[in-house]
């Protein structure tokens, strides 16, 4: 099966994620969409690793997961504090800073 298809999939995932970030209100969900985008990138890496026939791509994928994990830690922390002080996780309500 043509590895390019995996690229299409990853592109699709990435787009879904990006659009999700734009359209969803709940901070958690937005964050999940970002994760989706990261994983789309992972998929792309792995695919390219396959195409190029070297392992660097795979390695990066692992790195990415670790980094993503760190991001989750920081991200959730921030989101939780917001939730605690605002009693809501909607990103639209956090819009005091403007103009």
């Amino acid at each position: 099966m043509n590895p390019e298809n995996y690229l299409y999939v990853s592109a699709l995932l990435f787009s879904i994620g990006a659009v999700g970030v734009v359209v969803r209100r709940n901070a958690i969900v937005v964050f999940m969409c970002v994760e989706l985008m990261l994983n789309a990138a992972n998929l792309a890496f792995v695919t390219f690793a396959r195409i190029n026939g070297n392992l660097d791509g795979q390695v990066i994928a692992f790195f990415t997961m670790v980094v993503a994990a760190c991001e989750v830690v920081v991200g959730l922390a921030i989101i939780v504090t917001i939730y605690r002080s605002r009693r809501s996780a909607s990103v639209d309500e956090a819009s005091l800073l403007k103009r």
Partner: protein, 629 residues
């Protein structure tokens, strides 16, 4: 010939004027004496120079003195240097001589004014400037004196400037003069551009090669200058108001000397006008127009000084006419200038003395029968009167008739027209001068009893007497064996005897005399037979009314120049703020506006920010695609 004493002619009065101005009130006690000595000594120097001159042969009578190099840039070289020749010596003597007399007169006349010192300072300044005007050896030096006398006249007209109208009169005079000066400066520019020099000698030398077009241009611009300074049509309007100045000023500046500077300029520039016939003709025409113009105004004026001013205007018209008639006329123009210097100054001083006696009343309708109260004034004024209307053997007769004669003989229709104008002018002159005489000295008293007319002190009548003597004798002297003509010959080329005389001198004289008599008679009829009303009658012909209003000269100027000018200034002021500055402010406001609008994109919603990023990314993809494919 080189002389090194010329400069003192100018320096003395200049110095004294500076002293008087700078020392301030401290000089009040002796200011007038110093102020009178300065021109006096200058007069003596002038006489000395004359003696020297007479001692030399006709050709090398001119003397020069180079003081220092004034302006020297590239080919534009102007020295501050003086030149005294047969023409300027006449003026020097006139200025310093008459000037001194008037200074003496002023000592008494201004004795009550606590600013007398300042008055003398101005007078000295004027003398200095006027001397520079006639002594300068280049148009630029002349220009300095030219504007200098303008300044002095401004200061003196506005001497009593606490009266707003007087201040305005001064301003008017200065601005009118400035227009003339513009002409002069243009003339200098053209001259330099075309001949590369501005000195009389240089231009005289090159005038031959220059094209008629250039010469005409120079001539016309010079004429403009002359009309400004000499109150000729169309820049005559200021002279009437200039009578706001103290009477001695009117006598010295606005009768004897400054206003004749225009004549000097034209005669001095004879080499240009002789080569530019059109310009010359223009001069003659202007002269003719003005002599009629002034005369007509003179007939309607009740203010004695304004009447005299009008006559001055008209008499200078004669001179300009004479100067406009070319070589034949120059000498007579100058002659009339000198004689006029005597008799008009004398009459003005007379008028001053009358006002002195009538506590500054100027309306002739409030005079009358003054001859018994001011006998000397009457006598001197009368002599001047006879001189101006041209009764032989008084000065005016010789000078004026000569001009008329030359006018007739200048050939063709031109000659006839100009000649007739001059003759007619003579008649009108006779009329209005007689009117003045009668209204002032003859008839019954019309002043109210508060006034106590009395003869003026010796310091005032002595100058009048001397001037009267001048106005009696001068004409005779100048014409005796064409002395003045011969004297001036080296400066102004003499023409070969005027071709085909149209009228013999005798004829002219007789014609003139007849007309004069008619004029006198007419006046006598009108003002001697029935008593003169104290209030100027309102029910008079439209012509009289117009004449009273100076033939609408002011109305004309205001309508054509002043008001549009003011409007333009105001309009521009608004435009400047609205349009230009408005544009600038507009740009500023626009920028701010855009900024604020763009700022609205910052709506605080994180998702819209994300949207921006997404769109940005897509946009970048688009551009990069567009570029590569």
């Amino acid at each position: 010939m080189i002389s090194n004493s010329l400069v003192y002619l100018i320096v003395l009065p200049l110095f004294s004027s500076a002293v008087l101005l700078l020392t301030g009130r401290r000089a009040d006690r002796w200011g007038h004496i110093l102020g009178t000595l300065a021109p006096g000594i200058s007069f003596l120097i002038g006489l000395y120079q004359l003696a020297q001159m007479l001692g030399r042969s006709n050709e090398e009578r001119a003397v020069t003195q180079k003081l220092f190099s004034w302006i020297s840039v590239g080919s534009f070289q102007v020295d501050a240097s003086l030149m005294l020749d047969q023409l300027s010596i006449c003026f020097v003597l006139l200025i310093t001589g008459v000037g001194t007399l008037i200074h003496i007169y002023s000592i008494a006349y201004m004795s009550h004014d606590h600013d007398r010192r300042r008055f003398f300072a101005y007078l000295n300044l004027f003398i200095a400037a006027m001397l520079l005007l006639v002594l300068g050896d280049s148009y630029l030096n002349l220009y300095v004196g030219w504007e200098g006398v303008g300044l002095a006249s401004y200061l003196l007209i506005g001497f009593w400037n606490q009266k707003p109208t007087y201040a305005t009169a001064a301003k008017k005079a200065f601005i009118a003069n400035r227009v003339g000066d513009l002409g002069l400066s243009l003339a200098i520019m053209i001259a330099f551009a075309s001949m590369g020099t501005v000195s009389f000698a240089g231009i005289k030398e090159h005038a031959g090669q220059a094209s008629t077009g250039v010469l005409t241009a120079i001539g016309i611009t010079l004429l403009i200058a002359a009309t400004g300074k000499s109150a000729q049509f169309p820049l005559q309007a200021w002279l009437g108001d200039a009578m706001a100045g103290p009477t001695p000023v009117s006598a010295l500046i606005h009768a004897a000397t400054m206003v004749t500077a225009g004549v000097y300029l034209i005669v001095r520039s004879n080499f240009i006008f002789d080569a530019a016939p059109n310009a010359q003709l223009a001069v003659a025409i202007i002269g003719a127009i003005t002599l009629m113009f002034g005369a007509l105004i003179g007939t309607a004026k009740d203010d004695i000084k304004k009447a005299l001013a009008a006559s001055t205007m008209s008499q200078i018209g004669y001179m300009i006419l004479g100067a406009g008639l070319g070589p034949a006329g120059y000498a007579f123009a100058i002659m009339h200038l000198l004689t006029h210097g005597f008799f008009k100054a004398g009459m003005f001083l007379g008028a001053g003395s009358v006002m002195h006696g009538m506590d500054d009343e100027v309306n002739m309708r409030r005079y009358g029968g003054l001859r018994k109260f001011l006998p000397i004034t009457f006598a001197t004024f009368g002599l001047g009167y006879l001189a101006i209307i041209g009764v032989p053997p008084f000065a005016g007769f010789y000078s004026k008739d000569k001009i008329i004669e030359v006018a007739f003989n200048s050939g063709g229709a031109k000659g006839v027209i100009l000649g007739c104008a001059a003759l007619l002018g003579a008649a009108i002159t006779a009329f209005y001068m007689t009117r003045v005489m009668i209204l002032t000295f003859a008839g019954s008293k019309r002043w109210d009893d508060k006034a106590h007319p009395h003869e003026s002190p010796v310091l005032m009548w002595l100058p009048m007497v001397l001037l009267a003597v001048g106005s009696v004798t001068s004409g005779f002297l100048f014409t005796q064996g064409n002395s003045l003509q011969k004297w001036l010959a080296p400066v102004v080329e003499q023409s070969p005897a005027a071709e085909g005389e149209l009228l013999k001198p005798a004829v002219v004289s007789i014609l003139a005399l007849l007309l004069v008599i008619t004029g006198v008679g007419l006046a006598a009829m009108m003002y001697l037979r029935k008593p003169v009303p104290v209030q100027a009658p309102a029910d008079v012909s439209i012509f009289t009314r117009i004449a009273r209003r100076d033939l609408l000269q002011d109305e004309f100027n205001e309508a054509i120049f002043m008001r549009p000018g003011q409007k333009l200034a105001k309009a521009l002021g608004i435009a400047d703020n609205a349009v230009i500055d408005g544009a600038v402010r507009g740009v500023a406001r626009l920028t701010q506006g855009t900024g604020r609008t763009l700022g609205l994109t910052q709506n605080g919603f994180v998702r819209s920010y994300a949207m921006w990023i997404l769109l940005g990314a897509i946009g970048l993809l688009a551009t990069i695609w567009a570029v590569t494919l």
